[in-house]
Chain length 373, copies 2
Amino acid sequence: MKLKIKKELLLDGLSKVSKAISTKNLVPVLAGIKFELEDKGLTLTASDNDITIQVFLEKNDDMVIESTGSIIIQGKYILDIVRKLPDEYINIEVVDELKIIIYTENSEFNLNGISKNEYPNINLEKSKNPILISSKVFASIINQTSFASSNDESRPILTGINFKIMGNLLECNSTDSYRLARKVIPLNDVVEENYNIVIPSKNLLEFIKIMDDSEENISLHVFSNKILIQYQNLLFQSRLISGTYPNTANLLPDEFLLSIKTRINDLYNVIDRASILTSDKEKNIVTFEIDGNKLFVKSSSAEIGRVEEKMFIEKNNEENLKISFVAKYMMDALKSFEDDEVEISFVGEIKPIILKSSKDEGLVQLVLPIRTY
Amino acid sequence: MKLKIKKELLLDGLSKVSKAISTKNLVPVLAGIKFELEDKGLTLTASDNDITIQVFLEKNDDMVIESTGSIIIQGKYILDIVRKLPDEYINIEVVDELKIIIYTENSEFNLNGISKNEYPNINLEKSKNPILISSKVFASIINQTSFASSNDESRPILTGINFKIMGNLLECNSTDSYRLARKVIPLNDVVEENYNIVIPSKNLLEFIKIMDDSEENISLHVFSNKILIQYQNLLFQSRLISGTYPNTANLLPDEFLLSIKTRINDLYNVIDRASILTSDKEKNIVTFEIDGNKLFVKSSSAEIGRVEEKMFIEKNNEENLKISFVAKYMMDALKSFEDDEVEISFVGEIKPIILKSSKDEGLVQLVLPIRTY
């Protein structure tokens, strides 16, 4: 294998696949990046068994392929070397089968490689009927739902996002059993087969970090135990979480006692201030007291003190209400709307609180209240 | 105590003193900030017994003092509250002796205060003959020497910077016994008394973080067991480290085998790349091989591989040399010069390496070599 390649091109590919390099040392070869150089271009692959990322750099003017071949190079070193070399072009050559030489005019690195035969055989096949979706819409879905997933590995199913695809509708649900984020979007095409899968939230967050700002289609290839996402010259494969996702269909009430409208940013800041007086953010409980056209936001801690914030709101009727909840959950839900204003609806003081925005009708956030007496 | 004060003014004062709030809960009152409101203005004090910071906000148009008084307020809450309140002015009132009310038009915080009588009595007296020094010069001294101090508390004396003041000269030394940073600057005035003290490096780093970009004089008030630094409306007091600082006077050689000149930035990057191939940065050993007008920078690790970098240098004679050292120490030393070029002088392969720059003659960096055979 002998290659001369533009630094920026190689660095971009290495940066993307390096997200999948295993940091655990259980399988040493997975700390490496597989380089496969063929006449048509260079394929880079990294995997930690949970996710696999593959980038294909097609042969172009930024690449001189002198001889083809494959080798596995320690991921953290090759990324650092390429990042820190000041030269425009970098040469990579394999000699004596496993000796890698990376060189430019004034720099030469000799690394010990690993034979490509040691790399696990990872199947990155595509499905016949992939689902197409805009990259921006996909990133929105993940950002608007993933925060509501659980971090608690004792119920693995709740650490993922549930994707349900029926006809031309995609419905994503994410819940840690204290709150629920739901986003429904129409697809451009009707799918041939319905899907109901759970994808690990942290893997989806890794994937959207790789995406750039351009809007283009990505394609989702769903299998029984894995999903392959194709984006530009990149393949991203994640395992699915097995098990049955809780049925969230009946959680959203359809009749409400009272709805209020308010500016998202102002309400966020009010709750943020009301939750200052706590030593453990996660558990800080804040109370809404709706009285006429005023919303009082209150919180107190016996040792530290108490806080009361007041803001003016719009209401749809004359009902008043007092309800308590975890500040962080409400703030996370508020942040998920790409809008200035939110509508918050209440059924009663021990019933779910529902957040919606007129600009983004596919998104619903649910926060369960806390009984404080 | 009743006060109306401009948010920005109070926030600036609180941010500065909060650097001294104790994060250990050994003395609960030290987690607080002491507010002392007098007719002439507001004094804020925080201390963790190691450092004490006091800011005086003089009465001006941004402050309405309705009644004077003193109270101790939990530092982390008051800082967060003031930072997050959106209002231009903030009211602070103490009622029933220990109840603190912080309020604006729509927000009200009630906090439990602590009596000022519980606060330790901290003496912030000034000396009769303070030493004046430019704030920018002082910041440079700390930045150019502190990194060479030790973090190892088993030899406390080496965790500080040694300040020696004799006549009109200030000499600062910092060493962890593997390297030495020395900066000598002339003072504007001759001091009446000579000083030889050791100030904890981490405290000096805290102090220079508080300084803004303006150039003005700060005054150093030295006592037998503490130093008080006066800067603008702020007093910063630190304990001194007791004990005798090692004598560094004879460490700097005055005759050299060979000196080379090179661009700091280029050499820094070359050593940075040469030290990639290691799993433990602290211990990565790099070798200089000076051969003619070329400097080869080499490093190797049996498991990972080896690297060789080449750069062109200026020399003052025909001598060649091979010498090894810890990459990080050389990189720290190079970074300390506010110049483009550095002169590196060698006595022999097991003798100290000396770095100097023509632009900053008061600064000398010494790095001890490592014997590699």
